[in-house]
Symmetry: C2
Subunit: 234 residues, 2 copies
DNA sequence: CGGGCTTTGTGCACACGTTCACAAACCGCC
DNA sequence: GGCGGTTTGTGAACGTGTGCACAAAGCCCG
């Protein structure tokens, strides 16, 4: 079978689920499972089987009717499609509470995202070592990005400094940013930004709690719908 | 005007954006801004103005044509709709790297989510103090939940322990869970779960990087579309 | 008090995402 | 080689989310 050049554009919703499938498939491979059906994978991923099949169909026709999917091959294909066939070094800006937790987290390295650098504006933080990484001054950001060919930056600064951090990252040549500060970043076209905002997550939970409370008190009870693939109500 | 009993169901996509508007509005109020137009708010939130208007219309008709929205009143209404008119104490399970960063993070308290407890299975961690919180043994989880009337739990344990943590949380009476472990949790119906998976976020960025690289090499360049409100490509 | 300007609130069309349902494909076994 | 059982891949229907475009509403000013 031909190595299927990645032509088609994959829907964002699917892109967001592929890493979940990948995780499960790697686990399954580790347990010696060689084949898996869309039904089985769906069960483990907590989604609909038809969705699994449609998602996987964007990668090509890698299943065998009557049998299912070969786990190893699927892992290979998803990896390739997500660009995980090589490492993506990341640079972290801000070595505070969160930046240190991130740097000390082995999961990044394991999953192909080695921490190429950790920079901070505070001289007291510079040269301290966290998770085997020595904190470097903010000035060296561009240098690190260039030297290690970094294209992904992580922002873990206080909110007021986040835009500045983004500007510096972009200037240094980074083209993707993962932002933990609760602010809306403004970046040039062509730069991809994703935001992880814990407060937002908690507030969404709060909404559902509040709704539950209101419902059980006054009105009738509703099933709460799933929320665009990022959370779920069982 | 009547205090508008929260009748209508608000679309999930809107619920996910309201916290962002709220954040911006609070900032603006702090800077003395009294009124804001959908256009202005949209600009600051990085979204379409019509979307802002439609989102806000689910709360009721709180704008004034020709003028815009009164910032303070909008803050009040969004807070009420999200259930943020009172605090939601949270309990954190797992006092490792991440659990400590979360417990030490002032932003939770400020935003109405005080840490009611931090529990860990490891006796070496118990009784250590992090961010002003004394780590308690896992056994005391149910007690903490009951005593402080906690309905939101945060899982920051290693992946293999996450399901156990979820089970304990549910048993203790928690009805919403924010899960940081990269595993799919299985919970009873009626429990709301949201997952924050950093590796997934990075892998999505990796996909776009890979796509960019492939495009600039071979095919034609495409604008990358926005991804369901959680990230963006400018 | 009326006219012009601004901005909301929403109907409508379209895009995107999800799920069902089923023909086509494949396996294994007789 | 054919048959029954299984599972894929996808067309089609449906549901959710987005954005345009415009009438309705309100403000200001003369
Ligand atoms: N800690 C958490 O659990 C947590 C949770 C949710 C969100 N966040 C967000 O993550 C961000 C970081 O949180 P934290 O708790 O680590 O804060 P922190 O104050 O502990 O750390 C911030 C670090 O950034 C450095 N810094 C400040 N300005 C900088 C700049 N211009 N360039 C580079 N570094 C700079 C500071 O020196 C400090 O070391 C904040 O925006 C916060 O809102 C944190
Ligand atoms: N640290 C990060 O930046 C980071 C980033 C992304 C994801 N995560 C995820 O967050 C989770 C925690 O990461 P970490 O770096 O803090 O790990 P960690 O190993 O530092 O901490 C885990 C803690 O959980 C405790 N624990 C283990 N089993 C438990 C149980 N059954 N009940 C209660 N506590 C238990 C351990 O004693 C330990 O203190 C992991 O699932 C990890 O994949 C962490």
């Amino acid at each position: 079978m031909p190595p299927h050049r990645s032509r088609r554009r994959i829907p964002e919703a699917t892109v967001a689920r592929l890493p979940v499938y990948l995780q499960i498939l790697v686990d399954q491979a580790g347990e010696g499972v060689e084949n898996i059906s869309s039904e089985g994978l769906a069960e483990l991923a907590g989604v609909n089987a038809a969705k699994v099949r449609k998602d996987l169909s964007y990668l090509g026709s890698y299943g065998t009717r009557g049998v299912g999917y070969e786990v190893d091959y699927l892992v290979y294909q998803i990896r390739r499609e997500l660009g995980l066939d090589h490492d993506w070094p990341v640079v972290i800006v801000g070595a505070g509470n969160l930046g240190q937790a991130l740097a000390g987290y082995g999961g990044f390295n394991d999953r192909g995202f080695p921490v190429a650098g950790l920079v901070d504006i505070d001289d007291d933080k510079v040269d301290t070592v966290v998770g085997g990484i020595r904190v470097r001054p903010l000035d060296e950001l561009a240098q690190i990005v260039a030297a290690r060919n970094v294209s992904i930056g992580v922002i873990a600064t206080p909110p007021p400094a986040a835009q500045d951090a983004a500007d510096r990252l972009v200037k240094a040549g980074v083209t993707s940013i993962l932002n933990f500060a609760p602010v809306v970043l403004s970046v040039p076209v062509g730069i991809t930004v994703r935001k992880v905002d814990l407060a937002v997550e908690l507030q969404i939970l709060s909404y559902h709690e509040q709704r539950r409370a209101a419902a059980s008190q006054g009105g009738q009870l509703h099933a709460v719908s799933t929320d665009r693939g990022r959370g779920a109500t069982a």
